[in-house]
C-alpha cells in the first residue's frame, strides 16, 4: 500500500488562476508556471512486486504463513524445509490438514530470534506465533481438543533426539565432504558473494562446533578437534536403535501407539527426512545408521516412507 502511494502520479501543480489584483509574494512567475506545467512528461506504471511477494500478499490475507529456512522456489511449492526444527513444525501443520503458505526467511526476521514462526492470516491478526505455540494454534484451528501433554515415557524418549541432533550437526556443518550441501542449504539463499559466503560458512561451522561441544559437556570454545567423532556416531546409533525398538512395539506404526502421527513423529521426521534425502551417501554415516537401526529390518526407513506418503508431495 505504501508502494502504491509512492508511485502514484504526483498531483498536478495547482491551476488556480493567479489573482492579478493582489500578486502574492509566493506566487510563481508566469513563465516558470508555464514551464512547470509540462511536467511530469510521462508517468510510468508502478513496478510489479516480486513473484514471491505477490503470491504471499494475495493469499496471506486468508492463509497463515510459516516462515522457514528454504529456497524461494521450494517455499513457493511448499517443499520441505532444510532445517530440522522448521521441518518439524511444517510437518505437524501439514499433518493437521491446515492449509498454509511457506516463505523463506532467516533468523533475523523472527521476533523470537529463531525460525520457524507462524504469521496468522492478515485479516485475523498480525501477531506472530512462535514455534512453541503452534500445537495450541492447530488445536484452535481444527477445533480438536489439545493433544494431551506428552507422557513421561515420551519425554524420556524425546531426549534421544539430542544425540541424533549432535551427529546431524557434526555431519552437515563439520564434515568437509558435506560443505557443498551446507553451501546450498544456508549460504546460497543468503548471499552470492564468495567472500561473504566463506565468512558465513566459517561462522556457521564454529557455531555448530560450539553447540556440539556444549551438548557433550565440554567448553564450547574448545574447537572441533575436541569432538570425538566415533563416539558421537556410536551414541547416535544407540539412540536410533532405541527408537527403532520403540517403533516395533507400537501396533499402529506410529510412535507410542498413536492412531495418527503426532509431535514426536514430526520431530524425528525433521532429522530423518533430511538425512535420508540428502545425506544418505557413501561418505555419510548417518544414512547407514538409520537403515541399520532395529536389526537391519529398515524399521525407521519404513516409517519414514509411510509418513512421507501421508504428507503427500514431499
Amino acid at each position: 500500500m505504501t508502494m502504491a502511494s509512492a508511485t502514484a502520479p504526483p498531483p498536478k501543480p495547482s491551476s488556480r488562476p493567479p489573482n492579478p489584483s493582489a500578486p502574492s509574494l509566493w506566487a510563481i512567475p508566469g513563465p516558470l508556471q508555464k514551464l512547470f506545467n509540462h511536467f511530469p512528461l510521462v508517468t510510468l506504471d508502478p513496478n510489479a512486486l516480486p513473484v514471491r511477494s505477490q503470491v504471499l500478499t494475495s493469499a496471506s490475507d486468508t492463509l497463515p504463513t510459516l516462515y522457514v529456512f528454504s529456497s524461494d522456489a521450494d517455499a513457493l511449492n511448499g517443499k520441505p524445509s532444510i532445517n530440522p526444527a522448521c521441518l518439524k513444525w511444517q510437518t505437524l501443520l501439514r499433518l493437521s490438514k491446515i492449509p498454509f503458505l511457506t516463505s523463506p526467511s532467516s533468523n533475523h526476521a523472527s521476533p523470537t530470534g529463531s525460525l520457524p514462526f507462524l504469521l496468522p492470516p492478515r485479516t485475523i491478526s498480525s501477531h506472530p506465533i512462535p514455534s512453541g505455540s503452534i500445537p495450541a494454534y492447530i488445536s484452535r484451528q481444527t477445533s480438536t481438543t489439545k493433544p494431551s501433554l506428552p507422557s513421561l515415557r515420551e519425554e524420556a524418549y524425546l531426549s534421544l533426539l539430542t544425540p541424533i541432533r549432535l551427529a546431524f550437526l557434526y555431519t552437515l556443518y563439520l564434515t568437509p565432504s558435506y560443505s557443498p550441501l551446507l553451501k546450498k542449504f544456508y549460504i546460497d539463499p543468503s548471499t552470492s558473494s564468495s567472500v561473504l559466503g566463506t565468512v558465513l560458512q566459517s561462522q556457521l561451522s564454529s557455531a555448530a562446533s560450539g553447540a556440539v561441544l556444549q551438548g557433550l559437556g565440554l567448553h564450547n570454545k574448545t574447537g572441533p578437534a575436541g569432538i570425538e567423532q566415533e563416539e558421537l556416531y556410536a551414541e547416535a546409533a544407540e539412540a536410533l536403535e532405541a527408537l527403532a525398538t520403540l517403533l516395533k512395539e507400537s501396533a499402529t506404526g506410529w510412535f507410542f501407539g498413536r492412531e495418527k502421527p503426532g509431535e514426536f513423529d514430526a520431530g524425528l521426521f525433521g532429522y530423518l527426512h533430511l538425512v535420508m534425502e540428502y545425506m544418505d551417501t557413501p561418505e555419510g554415516r548417518l544414512g547407514k545408521l538409520v537403515r541399520e537401526a532395529g536389526g537391519g529390518e529398515g524399521v525407521l526407513v519404513g516409517w519414514w516412507g509411510g509418513l512421507r506418503g501421508r504428507l503427500g508431495g514431499y
Binding site: 513421561l152 515415557r153 519425554e155 524420556a156 524418549y157 531426549s159 534421544l160 539430542t162 544425540p163 556444549q214 551438548g215 557433550l216 559437556g217 565440554l218 567448553h219 564450547n220 570454545k221 574448545t222 574447537g223 572441533p224 578437534a225 575436541g226 570425538e228 563416539e231 556410536a234 551414541e235 544407540e238 539412540a239 536403535e241 532405541a242 527408537l243 525398538t245 520403540l246 516395533k248 512395539e249
Partner: protein, 409 residues
C-alpha cells in the same frame, strides 16, 4: 594391565563432584573386581581427552571419555573379571528404555545441577567453589573452577535463570548506573533513594524464583521419579545414582531448593538411590574410600603433564582472543597424541612450521617497529648541529681587526 579411570575428586560426601564420574565409578564398582582397575583423582587438564571421566585402557591403548562411551568401551573390551548381569540386556525394550532414561538424565538433569551448584552465586561461593579448591592440587584452583563454571552455566542457559548469578546482576546494575551518570542524568545519591526495603528486595534470588525453579525440577523429576530403575540395565541404574545423588546434596549448601524438592516430593527415588549407593560403595557414610584409589602421578602412562604446565594452559585459556586459538590448537594436539598412541597414523604435524612462521613474523615486526621509531618524525625539517670552526672572524671586532692585520701580513 589394569584399566585406569580418571575422575573428579570426592566432595559432598560423594565419591566425586561430577555426576558422570559418580556413575562411572559406580559402574566399575558394580561390575569389575578391585584388582582390575584404578581410580585416579584428576582434572580435565591432565587427561588427553580434556574431559572427565576418562578411561585409559592400556591393553587396547585407548582413551575414551564420557559416561556412555566408557560403558561402551568396558562392554566391548571387558577386563578379565568384568561381569554385568544385565549385559547383554534381557530384552530390546529394557535396552531401549535404559538408553532413553540415561540420555534423559544427561540432557535434562545436568542443567538442573548446573543451576543448583554452579549458576547460583550463593551455592557456588559457599560450597562448590571450596569443594573444588579442596580436590585440586594447589595452583590449579586459580584457573580450572572458573572455566568449569562457564561451561556448566552454558548448559543451563536455555532455562533462563541467569538471575541466580547475583554477581552478574549487580555488575549489570552498576554498569547501567554508570552509563546513566555518563549520559548526564541527574543521579540522586544511593543513600537518599533507598527507602524501606520491600519484600522482594529482601528475598534471595532463589526464593523469588522458587516456584519456577520447582517447576523446572519437577519437569525432570516427574519423569525419572516413576521409573522402576531396578528393572533397567546396570548402566542406567548407575546413571541415576550419579545424577540424583548430586541433586540431593544439602550439607553446607545455603540455598537447598533442589534437594528440598527431590527429598520432599520423590521419596521413592531418593530411597532407591540411597539403597543402591550403599549396595555399590559399601555401608558407611564414606564407603567409597575403600575402592582402589591411586595417587595421581604414580600411575604409568605417557601423557603426564606437570602442574606448572597445567597451570600454564589454564592461564593461556583465559587470555582474550589468543585463548580461543590456543584452546583449539591444544585440543588438536592432544587428539593427535591419543590417535598416535592408539597406532593410527597421522599426517605430519604442521606445528613446528606454524611456530617458525609466527617467530619469523614476530621478529620482522619487531625489527620494523624499531626501524620506524628511529626515523625522524614525518614532515619535520632535519636540523643538523655542527661544531663551528673557530676562525678569527668569530671573535667580534677584535677578530676583524686581527684578521685584517693577518691578511696584510
Amino acid at each position: 594391565m589394569v584399566i585406569q579411570l580418571y575422575v573428579w575428586g570426592p566432595a559432598f560426601g560423594l565419591p566425586s563432584i561430577d555426576a558422570e564420574c559418580i556413575a562411572a565409578i559406580a559402574y566399575l564398582a558394580q561390575t569389575t573386581s578391585k584388582a582390575d582397575y584404578q581410580l585416579i583423582q584428576s582434572s580435565p587438564s591432565a587427561v588427553p581427552t580434556n574431559h572427565l571421566p576418562a578411561l585409559h585402557d592400556p591393553s587396547t591403548r585407548t582413551w575414551v571419555s564420557g559416561y556412555t562411551s566408557i560403558l561402551r568401551q568396558l562392554q566391548s573390551h571387558p577386563p578379565p573379571s568384568f561381569h554385568d548381569a544385565t549385559f547383554p540386556p534381557p530384552t530390546p525394550t529394557i535396552q531401549a528404555d535404559s538408553k532413553a532414561y540415561t540420555t534423559f538424565l544427561s540432557t535434562n538433569a545436568t542443567p538442573l545441577i548446573a543451576l543448583y551448584l554452579y549458576v547460583s552465586s550463593a551455592n557456588w561461593a559457599a560450597s562448590t567453589r571450596p569443594a573444588y579448591s579442596k580436590i585440586l592440587p594447589m595452583p590449579l584452583p586459580w584457573t580450572e573452577p572458573a572455566q568449569l563454571r562457564q561451561a556448566m552455566s552454558a548448559r543451563a542457559e536455555h532455562l533462563g535463570m541467569s538471575s541466580l548469578d547475583t554477581d552478574v546482576e549487580t555488575e549489570k546494575e552498576e554498569q547501567e548506573a554508570a552509563a546513566a551518570r555518563r549520559a548526564g542524568w541527574i543521579s540522586i545519591p544511593a543513600s537518599l533513594t533507598r527507602g524501606p526495603k520491600n519484600v522482594g528486595e529482601v528475598m534471595a534470588p532463589e526464593e523469588k524464583r522458587r516456584i519456577r525453579l520447582e517447576g523446572l525440577a519437577r519437569d525432570v523429576l516427574d519423569v525419572i521419579g516413576e521409573v522402576e530403575w531396578a528393572k533397567l540395565t546396570m548402566g542406567a541404574r548407575c546413571a541415576v545414582l550419579g545424577w540424583v545423588s548430586l541433586m540431593i546434596v544439602d550439607e553446607g549448601v545455603p540455598r537447598r531448593w533442589l534437594a528440598e524438592v527431590t527429598r520432599g516430593k520423590y521419596p521413592g527415588l531418593v530411597e532407591f538411590v540411597e539403597d543402591f549407593g550403599r549396595e555399590t560403595f559399601g555401608v558407611g557414610p564414606r564407603g567409597w574410600e575403600r575402592l582402589p584409589w591411586v595417587e595421581e602421578g604414580t600411575e604409568v602412562q605417557g601423557f603426564n603433564l606437570s602442574l606448572s604446565q597445567r597451570l600454564g594452559h589454564g592461564v593461556m585459556y583465559e587470555v582474550p582472543w589468543i585463548g580461543e586459538v590456543w584452546r583449539r590448537w591444544w585440543a588438536g594436539r592432544r587428539r593427535r597424541e591419543v590417535l598416535e598412541y592408539k597406532g593410527i597414523k597421522q599426517a605430519p604435524s604442521l606445528d613446528s612450521l606454524v611456530f617458525a612462521g609466527l617467530g619469523i613474523s614476530a621478529l620482522t615486526m619487531g625489527a620494523a617497529i624499531w626501524y620506524w621509531r628511529t626515523l625522524p618524525r614525518f614532515g619535520a625539517s632535519i636540523q643538523r648541529w655542527e661544531r663551528p670552526i673557530l676562525t678569527m672572524g668569530g671573535l667580534g671586532a677584535a677578530g676583524a681587526f686581527l684578521s685584517s692585520v693577518f691578511d696584510e701580513l
